[in-house]
Symmetry: C2
Subunit: 239 residues, 2 copies
């Protein structure tokens, strides 16, 4: 879709930021980038959402896919535009201004950013270094201090995820491994909706769905009764 021949010029007015969420079996995590400097100057040190300026005539959705692909290696990930953030003060924090003008190499006014929500499976390719940055997963409950309004963006995206997962349960399975236990799935739901879920009600409700199919495989070498594995079958969803 994107060619090497495209024009990589940009006007410093619109950027794309991606809230890439994943799940490690216990916690919901968000992928953040940091300057890869070994001994970073404080002004370079705040973590950020992965993102960049939008190229002239580039489709914002393509840009988001690019960013996600660069960091995670995936080409088929769930991604959805959330909304734009454009407060004139969002790029004003002195801690961020220096970084920004260095990175972009010119004076910057207000930048409108289009935030995307993406959910992926965490794997060993999702900690890539690129262009002087490195990306790492952070538990959403233990996020560091973030540049710009990125903390707010993440908090709002998380609320959106809660709605999204009840309206479109498929997104849940974009975060879970291909085979997962009921406990993993329940932990994920609990992280998303922010409260505990009764085990028995969860079994009934979720495991009764035709698109969650039990496998004839069980956990190995666990010091307790082994849990069954399930898989998600998209073709058994309706409407």
């Amino acid at each position: 879709m994107k060619q090497n021949t495209i024009d990589h010029t940009f006007d410093p007015h619109v950027s794309i930021d991606c809230v890439i969420l994943g799940f490690d079996g216990e916690s919901l995590q968000v992928l953040l980038t940091r300057h890869a400097d070994e001994n970073p100057d404080a002004r370079y040190s705040r973590a950020k959402l992965p993102g960049r300026l939008l190229y002239t005539m580039e489709n914002p959705d393509d840009a988001a896919n690019d960013i996600i692909n660069q960091l995670t290696g995936t080409r088929n990930h769930y991604v959805k535009q959330f909304r734009a953030f454009g407060s004139p003060t969002r790029t004003n924090d002195p801690k961020d201004v220096l970084w920004l003008e260095n990175a972009i190499n010119q004076k910057i006014g207000r930048i409108v950013t289009i935030a995307y929500l993406s959910v992926v499976k965490i794997n060993n390719r999702t900690h890539r270094k690129f262009a002087g940055y490195e990306a790492a997963w952070y538990k959403v409950n233990e996020m560091p201090d973030l540049a710009f309004d990125h903390g707010d963006i993440i908090r709002e995206v998380l609320k959106e995820l809660e709605q999204l997962s009840s309206l479109q349960p498929q997104v849940i399975f974009e975060m879970l491994p291909a085979k997962f236990t009921a406990l993993q799935m329940r932990h994920l739901y609990e992280q998303i909706c922010g409260h505990e879920i009764d085990v028995r009600n969860f079994s009934k409700l979720v495991l009764s769905k035709p698109y969650i199919v039990p496998l004839d495989e069980w956990e190995q070498n666990v010091s307790h009764r082994a849990a069954r594995y399930y898989k998600f079958q998209a073709s058994k969803m309706k409407k």
Copy 2:
């Protein structure tokens, strides 16, 4: 909030478009602008969402409020950012390009627009002329051919409204007059969700809500049994 002293320069990269919805007692309507030329050149003739470029350092939310205020005279209206639209081809239709370059008075690349959803009460001030344009209400089922991707934007906003009205019923009452009948309210719900609603179930469901309070007033001079009026009382909503 906005002063006359603000800087009205802009870079032609980001615009704001408002999907302003209203209800006339029967149909859901959207406020569109047209060039007010008496005998309009065809190239000026497609209807558009009310909107404009974003001024340098202007808050997008403020811009949306301004646009809505200019057209409807209201200062307290429900408004919510929907999302950004930025396809590189969205401003490419030759029917629109001439108008756009005339209006903005320079060559234009791709413009990212931030779409807002607003709901207002229709009144006699909501057909204002301004700056060579005039605004008029159109039934959402009978929209004219629209410039750019404005037709798509409206269709997507209407889906959003359906979700919004079940999650935040207050928005319904932003469209209804201060006193309304059960029939009006039911028509509005039907327009929003796109199908008929059973009268008896509607009474039970809606009229059982504590925030919908019956008045001791009835319709006058109608050629059938007079319907009761109700009002919305925000203070009786919970959570």
